[in-house]
């Protein structure tokens, strides 16, 4: 079978994006009203197209075959003799297909708009971000040479203390320390009772206390801060932690404590 249409289409055969694209092409080509497609005519032309593809030994994508079946199905329903007797509100067999075609047309048209816009906007050129160097060292510079020295001395002192303890009292392998968070919290509060603020290192430092006690002491001030009994302040990294008593709620804790100890 060879019609003028077949000839015309074979050239473009591979350019169709899918069955909708092909149908759309046929509608445009024949200047048909998309809302009132002459289904006989369009089906014939569509089938012609598939035959042409077959003749050229092109693989026909399954989507094209599904559409062919759909078209043939619609065509047969349109041809049914008892059609006129049916009620008026019966759905036009073409409706679903038309809706889909219209939707497809919408996006196809927008594709063209996008292409145009791309052509325009691909002509602008941007610039890479400036590599602005930030001195991370700026922060480091706050650490003075003296701090370097004191940190080092701190380590040495700590070691000396450990060594002395090891030498003089190797009586047990592991010393189990009993340090309770509660007792450390009390210790902090007791000290704050007479002072508006205390330095953390006054109470807990590795020179005076064991590592466990210092850690627990630290947890204690965190917990007290969470309970809003104290206010913590540290001006910068590694500097002294100042513990202030929180005027508003400080005394409540004393009440609690009294109640608690009274209950024991």
């Amino acid at each position: 079978m060879e019609s003028a249409l077949t000839k015309a289409c074979t050239i473009k055969i591979q350019n169709f994006e899918g069955p909708f694209d092909l149908l759309f092409h046929l509608i445009e080509k024949n200047q048909l009203n998309i809302y009132d497609i002459p289904i006989n005519e369009i089906t014939d032309q569509y089938m012609d197209f598939l035959f042409a593809m077959q003749q050229m030994d092109l693989e026909i994508a399954s989507e094209f075959l599904v559409m062919a079946a759909t078209l043939l199905h619609i065509k047969s329903r349109m041809l049914l003799p008892d059609r006129k007797e049916k009620q008026e509100d019966e759905v036009d067999p073409r409706e679903e297909l038309i809706l889909k075609l219209v939707e497809y047309k919408r996006f196809k048209e927008f594709s063209e708009i996008l292409k145009e816009r791309e052509k325009h906007w691909e002509k602008v050129v941007y610039k890479l971000p400036e590599a602005i160097e930030y001195d991370k060292e700026e922060v480091l510079l706050e650490l003075s040479p003296d701090e370097l020295r004191s940190v080092y001395l701190g380590i040495l002192e700590r070691n000396e203390k450990k060594m002395n303890r090891n030498v003089t009292g190797i009586t047990q392998i592991i010393q189990h320390e009993k340090v309770s968070l509660k007792s450390k919290m009390r210790e902090v509060l007791r000290n704050l009772f007479n002072n508006v603020f205390i330095r953390f290192s006054d109470l807990f430092s590795l020179e005076k206390k064991s590592r466990t006690e210092v850690v627990t002491g630290f947890l204690a001030i965190l917990e007290l801060s969470r309970m809003k009994k104290v206010i913590l302040e540290q001006s910068r990294q590694f500097s002294e932690i100042i513990v202030y008593r929180n005027k508003d709620s400080f005394l409540d804790f004393e009440d609690e404590k009294a109640a608690e100890t009274g209950g024991k």
Binding site: F107, P129, E130
Partner: protein, 182 residues
């Protein structure tokens, strides 16, 4: 700080930033409220345009970016290596159009509208960063949802998704994700 100085600083910021600079960042750096900042930006955009300068300011998704003027491209492109232009296929354009108007949308839905398998077009668009995965749909199989990116806005000159042209009413068909997929 007078308006001239604010504008000069913003010009410097946009230049140094290179990438789109969010309005919030401008507000924060210059200690401006959003409304004022937006007025300043609108004013700058139009004054750059009106004074026929070689640089313009674009708004993309509430961020601002400097770029050259498209009409000077013939000169600009002589600067350095021609940018390798990756051409989008017709299929990719169609998928992009569908995603733009129906985001977030599943692959099945895209294919339903186009009537053909769209795997390669989708992966091409993902690769070019024109669409992105935008979560999963609460449906059997939890299919991936796709949406357009800022790169999409940038490439096609939209400020926001709201800038997409309105399609004529009689042609608008609501896409319903729950509709059976054929």
């Amino acid at each position: 700080m007078d308006i001239k100085k604010v504008e000069a600083i913003i010009e410097g910021l946009l230049f140094a930033s290179g990438d789109p600079l969010p309005l919030e960042d401008i507000c924060e750096i210059l200690e401006l409220d959003k409304k004022t900042a937006r007025l300043v930006m609108d004013n700058m955009i139009s004054s750059f345009k009106n004074s026929n300068r070689g640089i313009m300011i674009r708004e993309i998704n509430n961020a601002y970016q400097m770029c050259t003027r498209p009409e000077h491209f013939d000169f600009i492109k002589r600067l350095n290596e021609p940018r390798q232009k990756q051409v989008l296929s017709q299929a990719a354009f169609e998928v992009l159009s569908i995603v733009a108007y129906n985001q977030p949308i599943t692959k099945a839905k895209i294919e339903q509208i186009r009537g053909v398998n769209s795997d390669s077009a989708i992966s091409k668009l993902l690769e070019r960063n024109l669409i992105k995965e935008a979560g999963r749909m609460d449906a059997p199989g939890k299919p991936i949802l796709y949406a357009t990116t800022e790169e999409f806005l940038r490439c096609f000159g939209f400020r926001t998704i709201a800038d997409l042209p309105i399609l004529s009413m009689n042609e608008v068909i609501t896409v319903n994700e729950n509709q059976p997929i054929e």
